[in-house]
């Protein structure tokens, strides 16, 4: 049976404003779903039912005065546990922050909270957002609601699974190399990575600062546009956030794709891509053409080097960012004879295998004698990737590819092979290197009934065209994306 928590944010916003149900009823619906399924999905690291019900009650009182209601008000939301929340534990999926309670909110949450959003809890993720399966969390894996034996993708796996299972209406994640789009594809929801400088990263606990982006998980394209509208804009606490006015992301969302120039990334359908993923994305492209888009093929000649560049740049930045975990001011401390010994012991005990791997990789790539050959050369490749996009967008408005080369894989299947795991991000990484916005939209199911995602990429700051294209394909395909887990709920 569908409940309030299964509806979209835009429908719920209208219903709340019209008095069809209360914010308390909506929060209770979401909390009941968490109660019913989260022992199997394990999307949450920290649940905040009391905070949610108090907030909902306040909102109901406010709404009874007839005051205008922001669209995100009252909508149950979850935040990936790398986004700081004042007074609520924030772990980054790591032992080193197991008891860390931030004294401040990230700007993304400050904005949503200020507009009346209702926090249901903090979601599980790969440790410090490093991973593509959520298996790198110190607190155990998340289970994909479409098949509990498979991964939900990562690193924002908990947020993706929570939205897919209706535990929340929408959620925030972070996307450094595909950590919103890939789990969205694997769980059958919409995942948006906006332009690098669109949403403030203040309070996003840093992994790779030149790539980290706050992103959204929703069950409709319209919801992604609404949520971005509430999150976007300049923040003086993040000097990289955009000075431009965000504009109206909903204005052109229903305009359709007639006359839009769509470029299919020619190399994105070859070896390593699961055949039914390629076929499903091809069908979606044919539908876009049938709806009036002009479809051509384009090349991103340096895309094959993007993965290599990413796995030098991101670990290099991580090795520097994670130097702050030294056992002095917050987080785990393991005692030693002196401060240096304490630092070695704390970091050795507090970080998991993938985080250690990336710290070591980054430290090596930045070390004397290797800097130019690895980090320096990777930064040059980054320039070439940016130039590829500029050349492609001179001829087309939107680029299309699969989001991920495969659908959800089994828990444990790739855990011992870092290179195989890193290849999950081959189609999502280039957008992070270039800072351009991209979205994953569900476009079908594979032979085993697991969701497939279509990735659309637009020039910097043109999220409006992403939404317009994504909404057209969403409406045309009209998929029923209720995971089997919910049949018995």
């Amino acid at each position: 049976m569908t409940e309030l928590c299964d509806r979209t944010g835009s429908a719920l916003s209208t219903g709340l404003a019209a008095g069809e149900f209360t914010a308390i009823e909506l929060a209770e619906s979401s909390l009941a779903r968490v109660e019913a399924v989260d022992d199997r999905v394990e999307a949450f690291l920290t649940k905040t039912p009391q905070v949610a019900l108090e907030r909902a009650a306040e909102l109901d009182t406010y709404l009874s005065t007839g005051a205008p209601k922001p669209e995100v008000a009252g909508i149950p939301i979850a935040l990936k546990d790398v986004l700081t929340t004042n007074g609520i534990r924030t772990t980054c999926g790591s032992r080193i922050l197991e008891t860390y309670v931030p004294p401040y909110d990230c700007t993304a949450w400050t904005r949503l909270s200020g507009a009346g959003s209702v926090l249901i809890g903090k979601t599980n993720c790969d440790e410090f957002a490093m991973g593509s399966s959520n298996e790198n969390s110190a607190y155990g894996p998340v289970h994909n609601p479409w098949d509990l034996d498979t991964v939900p993708g990562g690193s924002s796996g908990g947020s993706a699974a929570a939205v897919a299972a209706g535990e929340v209406v929408w959620a925030l994640g972070t996307d450094t190399g595909g950590s919103v789009r890939q789990p969205a594809a694997l769980t059958g929801v919409v995942g948006l990575k906006p332009t690098y400088w669109r949403i403030s990263r203040y309070g996003l606990i840093a992994f790779a600062s030149s790539l980290d982006t706050v992103g959204t998980f929703t069950r409709s394209v319209r919801d992604a546009a609404i949520l971005l509208g509430a999150l976007a804009g300049r923040d003086h606490r993040d000097a990289t956030s955009v000075a431009d006015e965000p504009g109206d992301f909903l204005a052109r969302i229903d305009r359709g794709v007639k006359g839009l120039r769509i470029g299919v990334i020619a190399d994105a359908f070859g070896a390593g891509v699961q055949p039914d993923v390629a076929a499903s994305v091809r069908v979606a492209i044919e539908r876009l053409a049938a709806l009036g888009a002009e479809v051509t093929e384009v090349d991103l000649p340096h895309a094959e080097y993007a993965l290599s560049a990413y796995y030098l740049i991101a670990p290099s930045e991580a090795s520097s960012n994670l130097a702050r975990y030294d056992g002095v001011r917050y987080g785990l401390r393991v005692d030693g004879d002196d401060s240096i010994a304490m630092m070695f012991a704390t970091r050795g005990a507090g970080f998991g295998p993938e985080v250690k791997r990336r710290i070591m990789l980054g430290t090596y790539a930045l070390s004397a004698g290797y800097y130019e050959a690895y980090y320096g050369q990777a930064q040059k490749v980054r320039t070439l990737v940016i130039q590829d996009y500029a050349a492609a967008f001179a001829g087309v408005d939107i680029l299309v590819s699969p989001t991920s080369p495969t659908t959800a894989f089994r828990i444990g299947e790739k855990a011992d092979d870092p290179m195989a795991m890193y290849l999950n991000d081959i189609f999502t990484i280039p957008a992070n290197l270039a800072g351009v916005p991209a979205i994953s939209v569900p476009c079908g199911l594979d032979a085993g009934g697991l969701p497939i995602g279509l990735q659309l990429t637009a020039p910097a700051l043109d999220e409006a065209t992403l939404f317009r294209t994504a909404a057209a394909i969403e409406s045309d395909l009209g998929l029923d994306l209720r995971p089997p887990l919910l049949a018995g709920v």
């Binding site: 001011r329 012991a345 710290i359 070591m360 490749v381 320039t383 940016i386």
Partner: protein
């Protein structure tokens, strides 16, 4: 060819305690990852400028306006050890004999 790495030296730079098993595994895994990553060297890019950030803006300034910030007590809440409002750490210097 897999890249040969001096794991002990890198672990020292990273201030990271590693077990013998972790050292052996990382040596193999990092060697393989770096072999793949070395592809960046195949691109002839001598005349290409490096990109550190995709953000086009530079030198963002704002007025130096005082505003409330977190309190001293709040900043100390997560301290593993503290005394007199200061973070306590083990000794940081050798004591003279």
């Amino acid at each position: 060819m897999p890249v040969e790495i001096d794991i002990d030296h890198v672990a020292l730079l990273a201030r990271l305690d590693l077990t013998d098993e972790e050292r052996a595994r990382l040596k193999t895994q990092l060697g393989a990852i770096l072999e793949h990553a070395a592809k960046v060297g195949e691109v002839a890019a001598a005349d290409v400028a490096p990109t550190a950030s995709p953000n086009p803006s530079v030198n963002v300034f704002r007025e130096d306006t005082p505003e409330p910030s977190i309190t001293h007590d709040a900043a100390m809440l997560n301290a593993p050890a503290q005394a007199g409002g200061r973070f306590m750490v083990p000794k940081i210097a050798e004591t003279g004999s």
